[in-house]
């Protein structure tokens, strides 16, 4: 079975993505690994494919965006929206790439054991999803932190999805592509949460959907309160007795640490796994990449693009028609128009 596995990220997540691809390569030397990058390299940084664990890079401008010009389309999205939105068009493309199976993994995930059982699942099923939670929470604070959060952002965590590239899998990819090209926004009051909330529909819209109930997949701070991690003397790591397959290291830093501390408690193995991940991040960090770097976070003159500028551009077709390259600066640019309209502070 030919497998294509991809992750979507910007250069500020390159360290995390490298950890993921390193672990993927270790466990699946024969899979095709694709880096889907919605960014441009920072000055002085060049990707050397020979030194990376992924096989190829797909840039946002390589995608079929349903006829929309990529700059205009991209401008409508902030960094999270953009990196999640491109998953749809690429997954749709992957269905005609010759691969039998396409798997998406967030860049901040990492494998601890092979994902081979997924391929067995995909013999009878065509779409695999992992819910954020597999068991009800037991305390009010955990209900608020985890159950309510999943109600707001989506039942399934789209840090992972696996499909057959034909049949229902391909039909899902096309539908997701269509939705993400038009409505992949962080707009919880209006029922949207980027690419993820959409997938609450999947078990109803499609056949051959399997909700993975194995706690060894997609372990994260939001579900660790109900999962017990153990490391045995044979060297295996288990979660509620099942082999640990992959971990989702969401919110690397003090926020993630606080959540882990709150919900992992004395399960010290959880902290061992986090320490391992942090050591790998240190190993794969490129110090030349500035923190929070995103090439599409600024206009051509380097000034930051405000969320409100994106939302206005998103809402008004006339502006999109008038300014096909909204990233431009200088005369006749969208930025100049914003300045004239009093919506942008002049540069000091």
């Amino acid at each position: 079975m030919k497998v294509l596995c991809f992750s979507s990220f910007t250069f500020s997540y390159l360290d995390r993505a490298r950890v993921l691809f390193h672990t993927l390569r270790q466990h699946h030397p024969d899979w095709e690994l694709v880096a889907l990058i919605t960014d441009r390299p920072p000055p002085g940084v060049e990707l050397d494919l020979g030194a990376e664990a992924f096989d190829r890079v797909v840039w946002v401008e390589d995608l079929d965006l349903g006829g929309q010009a990529w700059k205009s389309w991209l401008f409508k999205h902030d960094v999270v929206e953009a990196c999640t939105a491109v998953k749809g068009p690429f997954l749709h493309m992957a269905c005609s790439s010759g691969a039998d199976v396409a798997i998406y993994l967030d860049p901040d995930t990492a494998l601890l054991n092979p994902l081979s059982p997924l391929l067995d699942e995909l013999r009878d099923n065509e779409i695999l999803l992992t819910p954020h939670l597999l068991q009800p929470e037991e305390t009010l604070s955990a209900v608020l932190d985890n159950e309510v959060s999943a109600l707001r952002t989506g039942i399934y965590n789209l840090g992972f999805v696996a499909i057959r590239t034909q049949g229902e899998g391909a039909r899902f990819a096309k539908w997701w592509n269509d939705r993400l090209l038009t409505l992949c926004y962080d707009d919880i009051p209006n029922g949207l949460f980027v690419d993820q909330r959409w997938c609450d529909h999947v078990p109803a819209f499609f056949e051959k959907v399997k909700v993975l109930r194995d706690p060894g997949y997609n372990v994260a701070s939001w579900n660790i309160s109900r999962r017990r991690v153990a490391i045995d003397k044979s060297g295996q790591i288990t979660v509620n007795g099942h082999l640990l397959r992959f971990w989702h290291f969401t919110k690397l830093g003090p926020v993630g640490d606080a959540m882990t501390k709150r919900y992992a408690g004395t399960n010290h193995e959880v902290h061992e796994i986090w320490n391992w991940y942090k050591r790998l991040i240190t190993r794969f960090t490129d110090a030349r990449i500035p923190g929070r770097y995103w090439a599409y976070g600024t206009y051509a003159d380097g000034r930051a693009i405000a969320k409100a500028h994106r939302e206005l551009y998103r809402a008004r077709g006339d502006l999109r028609d008038a300014f096909p390259d909204p990233f431009a600066a200088g005369p006749d640019s969208y930025q100049a128009w914003l300045l004239g309209a009093g919506l942008f502070e002049p540069a000091t």
Binding site: L112, N113, I231, D232, K233, S234, G235, Q236, I237, L244, K261, G265, T266, H268, H271, E272, I273, N275, W276, R279, T282
Partner: protein, 523 residues
């Protein structure tokens, strides 16, 4: 009712305030000559000062942020209502979490040690030449390799080497001991030629490069086939040591399993310094997430190559150590034997002793280090310190003042055969908690505890300790920390230890280490 007792009844906060601790901790308060309790109640709590060693402000407020936000005196609140509400004194994620929280990578640790203790400058080679000349032309030569200068430090392995050296010299051999000039956490790999310290017949000669040793020791050993014993390669470059031994025409030797550095870069097999790993396959997920995992491969490969170069007889001080080593080392040695460092020899069986009444005296023996189970003892003391059934002791070199156990300084000393046994006997210790988190290959401490009349309480991961306890019926094995706490809570440990306390006492009869196998071969 005394005036003091009346005050206690009226003011429970004052009753639990530790005047002595407060004055000892805050010299400015002592110097001011004010009432320490009044000081704490007025100023001290606002300044974050601790009212007793059992109530530490910062962790209490971290665990109870609502109290911090309310701006009330946390200690007074705890005594009056907080304790009744079941509030905890700290967010207690256990000692393993505390270790993991501050863990640095192994590379960083290796680098830090190398920077803090750099290699010394080499000694003038003439000193080596002259020392070898003084030895003359010996007919027997015995070489040992270990992690330090055994004459400069005292400990289990060092005492073993002292006995081996003395025994070999008594057999007429010249003894050359090689040790890393600067200590190492792991075997040397990055540096090709770390400096090597040399002792000849127990006398320090100096530090030399491996090339110098090849040049000088090679010709010195001409005509002899030296015997050798490796006690530890920590801090050494194995390639360099191999070259030195080959230059001396060594062919077969002994390899002692004092620890598991031949199997992993963590010689105690403590995964991430928090749990005994069982030495699983090096490509296992457990080794992947372990900070010693990457260097483990180097340790295995370098030791394996050494075993392929020389015909090695493995000597383990216990069957437990040998079993674990054989199951985890990739190369079959030429031979493997169990050779205990010491045996118990009865010195008193007069039937006296038995239950002397009073609280059960429970002691932790030795270094208060996490891998020796000190945090578990700490937890035990914390939980039962006010229980009249128990009295807690700590015997060792270094005191941990945060633990409420009676401390007695005990140090290994030349001329005192079993200092720990003597201390255990003198204090009438009933139970020694030997809760090593990792496998002990022998554990003199357990032998000394029993020699001094105590029973040993241990866990299944402590290597030779549970085997020794089971075989000699001198204690019990609690499955884990929860089971240990339950033993003390129910009082099961009382009947175990008290029945025949002190009826049999022992001394230790020691082996001569590698020398026991070479007497005939050396003729």
């Amino acid at each position: 009712m005394t005036a003091e007792a009346q005050t206690e009844a009226i003011d429970p906060v004052r009753a639990e305030f530790d005047v002595e601790y407060y004055l000892a901790t805050y010299a400015d308060v002592a110097a001011a000559g004010v009432d320490p309790f009044e000081h704490f109640m007025t100023f001290g709590w606002r300044e974050g000062r601790n009212p007793s060693k059992r109530f530490i402000m910062a962790p209490y407020l971290e665990a109870n942020p609502d109290i911090a936000a309310a701006g009330v005196n946390p200690f007074a609140h705890y005594i009056v209502t907080g304790r009744g509400e079941g509030r905890s004194l700290k967010i207690d994620l256990g000692f393993r979490y505390e270790i993991l929280k501050v863990a640095s990578s192994l590379d960083e640790r290796v680098r830090a040690l190398r920077e803090s203790i750099p290699d010394p400058e080499p000694t003038d080679v003439e000193k080596l030449v002259s020392a070898l000349r003084q030895v003359g032309a010996p007919t027997r030569l015995h070489v040992t390799i270990s992690h330090d200068d055994f004459t400069a430090n005292l400990g289990g392995v060092q005492l073993c080497l002292t006995r081996e050296s003395e025994a070999m010299r008594a057999l007429g051999a010249t003894h050359i001991h090689l040790y890393p000039a600067a200590p190492g956490l792991v075997i040397e790999f990055e540096r090709l030629n770390p400096m090597v310290g040399v002792l000849i017949n127990g006398e320090r000669v100096g530090v030399f490069s491996p090339e110098t040793l090849v040049e000088r020791l090679g010709p010195f050993a001409t005509g002899m086939t030296p015997t050798f014993a490796v006690h530890s390669f920590l801090g050494h470059g194995i390639v360099a040591m191999t070259a030195v031994l080959r230059a001396m025409d060594a062919k077969e030797g002994f390899f002692w399993i004092h620890d598991f550095a031949s199997v992993c870069a963590n010689y105690a097999l403590m995964r991430n310094d928090v749990a005994f790993c069982g030495a699983p396959p090096p490509d296992s997920p457990a080794c992947s997430v372990c900070l010693y995992g990457r260097r483990r491969r180097i340790h295995l490969a370098e030791h394996a190559r050494f075993f392929q170069t020389f015909a090695m007889t493995v000597l383990a001080p216990s069957q437990a150590a040998l079993d674990l080593w054989l199951s985890s080392f990739p190369v079959r040695p030429a031979d493997a034997k169990v050779h205990p460092h010491a045996k118990l020899r009865k010195r008193k069986t007069d039937g006296e002793g038995g239950d002397v009444g009073g609280p059960l005296k429970v002691a932790f023996l030795g270094m208060p280090a996490p891998h020796k189970g000190w945090p578990v003892f700490e937890r035990l003391v914390e939980r039962f310190v006010d229980d009249p059934r128990y009295e807690f002791h700590h015997f060792g070199k270094i005191q941990d003042p945060t633990v409420e156990a009676k401390f007695t300084a005990v140090e290994p000393a030349p001329g005192v055969a079993e200092p720990m046994a003597a201390a255990v006997e003198a204090a009438g210790i009933d139970v020694a908690l030997i809760w090593s988190l990792c496998p002990e290959t022998f554990c003199f401490t357990a032998y000394e505890a029993v020699a001094g009349g105590a029973k040993v309480v241990t866990n299944p991961d402590a290597g030779n300790v549970p085997r020794f306890v089971a075989e000699t019926r001198n204690g019990l094995i609690a499955e884990d920390e929860h089971a240990l706490m339950a033993l003390f809570a129910r009082g099961d440990v009382l009947s175990l230890a008290r029945r025949d306390h002190g009826r049999t006492l022992y001394s230790l009869s020691y082996s001569k280490m590698s020398a026991d196998f070479m007497a005939e071969g050396l003729s």
